[in-house]
Symmetry: C2
């Protein structure tokens, strides 16, 4: 598996299909354009899938879990054992993402890509073991991962995309879990958007002012010791990133290569999306931004890619929780497109003059 | 039926229940408050219903239809026969609201409160005949309705709320259909918020610059000829309002009196909500604002009541379409509250220190 081969196979979504979808949307019993973004979502799905009547029957949210060596610098409000504990919560169906994915009719697959815990031979539905690292290294002291490790994580994302596209899944979502993972996400954001560390570093799971001050310093130190090359996304990802962020980038690349729409969750997921976008900008055509996270760095990432979030509900949990709700809204748009009566069918008069 | 008796029976939602809901929300496996507005929605539902584990199994969107005499002033892009044609589209399940309500698991009830068309003895599921007027009168020439007609429309809304609460419906939504009905809604908005007519008059179903200019003048003339008393919501409603707007106000009053949450759609529905709020401010506790409409006057109405919309998807169709999508989001919040595991149940460690 070579991620470059996959990314170079990606094409833009199909404008001809988008045009045909627009014609149908304009024939439905409503003033033209009056369902706003719902209409855009339907059009984008048609253009991505190159199907006139696409379906979203099978949907899956991948929640990639990984630990972060930088957690030892005291950047999070929660202890790092919470990462594997939450993985078990996902597998048992009790976490936020489980509840909202059930609500949206989507499955959840928790992927151990880099948790610093041995799950043994855990063989449960909804759990996939693809461990590349047992936690990243502390990036304040050196690179979080090697270049090879980062590439391996990307490849896992691509392989999962290929596998689930092959199984007939019609929409993917990204999610993550990893104590301290807003720290590498902020570091990536600062390097790739050029915004100051202070302006894109937030409170994560809920740290106080002192811990926030420390977190900013840790991020600055990590960037200065590793000197990541902002023009090389793999260099950035390996030096100041994380395993789950890399896997999310890979999943997006794999989704685009398979012409499967992919819904991006909040701050950490969008850091992965920006990496994917830098590797291959055409991936953007396949992305839906689920929501605007309350984590302050998210805005800079969305703007850099040029994505407009669907929801804005002050959420900052991650896991893919925003994705699940956004899937319901996107599916609403698709149903409008597929199920509404046309003016002719319903015998409703059109616009005057 | 006297709407004043019903409105005076309304109490604030129950703060003690809200407190208990907050305690449960804080025990769930997520950083406190990290699901943002989803948590607020759950808390509001508990406080409204005074049930620790409320249910939203049965939901209904009322789409009130009415015609407007002022349509003869050329304020709309569509001819007025579209009102009854769209009512038939609702009954046949082909309109936007039907599609999105099915998606949300809600029923649609189309109510003829003031359509200028004789539906005969139309006896179809999802259609209710409660005609008070056969279209309002042209408000540019005098009052749209008498005070008695406006009160009758409010009472229809209350009666429907009582009936459906009695049948076990757990959530109501407001919607409307009526060619030209952004014109009375803008007039109401100008009088009750004090914002200039130009700043709250929009393009409705899609009028051009010339028609918009005419619409602004028609609204100004209607206000100056009728001199509605801004301190008397019934005076405003009857002189420059509409039958569906009055029925929506009544539905909201009835919902609050029955302790049933009510989701308010866009511009026209929120004009009805402001009337309800002026009759009894405690109704606000029972309201959810579905979305921010693209119709420019909506913002002033939301601010006047103090409501923050849930969605912002550039929609401007009405019918209750925003309500249906918002119901899905609100229900997501309720499921989070009811279904997530607690830290103790999932054996997940809490915050440090």
């Amino acid at each position: 598996m070579d991620y470059k081969k996959t990314s170079s196979s990606i094409t833009n979504s199909n404008g001809k299909f988008a045009e045909e979808a627009q014609n149908r949307l304009d024939s439905l019993t409503k003033p033209q354009g009056s369902l706003g973004r719902l209409e855009e979502f339907a059009k984008q799905l048609v253009a991505i899938t190159e199907e006139n009547m696409p379906s979203l029957d099978k949907k899956v949210v991948f929640t990639f879990a990984g630990d972060h060596g930088v957690a030892e610098e005291g950047v999070s409000a929660f202890p790092k054992e919470v990462t594997p504990q939450m993985v078990m919560n996902f597998v048992n169906g009790g976490a936020g993402i489980n509840v909202l994915a059930r609500h949206a009719g989507a499955e959840v697959v928790a992927v151990d890509i880099g948790v610093d815990y041995d799950f043994g031979g855990l063989d449960k539905e909804g759990f996939v073991s693809r461990k590349v690292v047992s936690g990243t290294k502390n990036m304040r002291k050196g690179p979080a991962m090697t270049r090879e490790e980062a590439e391996k994580c990307i490849n896992v994302g691509i392989e999962l995309a290929n596998e689930y596209a092959g199984k007939g899944y019609k929409m993917f979502g990204t999610g993550e879990m990893g104590i301290a993972n807003t720290t590498p996400s902020s570091a990536i954001t600062a390097v790739l958007t050029g915004v100051s560390v202070e302006d894109i570093t937030g409170r994560g799971t809920g740290i106080n002012d002192d811990v926030l001050k420390n977190k900013v310093q840790v991020i600055k130190d990590s960037i200065s010791i590793n000197t990541p090359d902002a023009s090389d996304p793999i260099d950035v990802l390996s030096k100041i990133g994380g395993a789950e962020i890399a896997a999310i980038a890979g999943l997006i690349i794999g989704a685009a290569a398979n012409k499967v729409p992919v819904v991006i969750d909040g701050f950490i997921s969008t850091a992965g999306a920006l990496i994917a976008y830098m590797i291959e900008p055409k991936t953007k055509d396949y992305m839906f931004a689920a929501h605007r996270s309350q984590e302050i760095g998210h805005k800079a990432l969305l703007e850099k890619i040029g994505l407009r979030p669907i929801l804005d509900l002050d959420m900052r949990l991650g896991e893919g929780t925003g994705v699940a709700l956004a899937m319901l809204v996107i599916e609403g748009g698709l149903k409008i497109y597929k199920e509404m009566a046309t003016f002719a069918e319903a015998e409703v008069a059109g616009k005057k003059g």
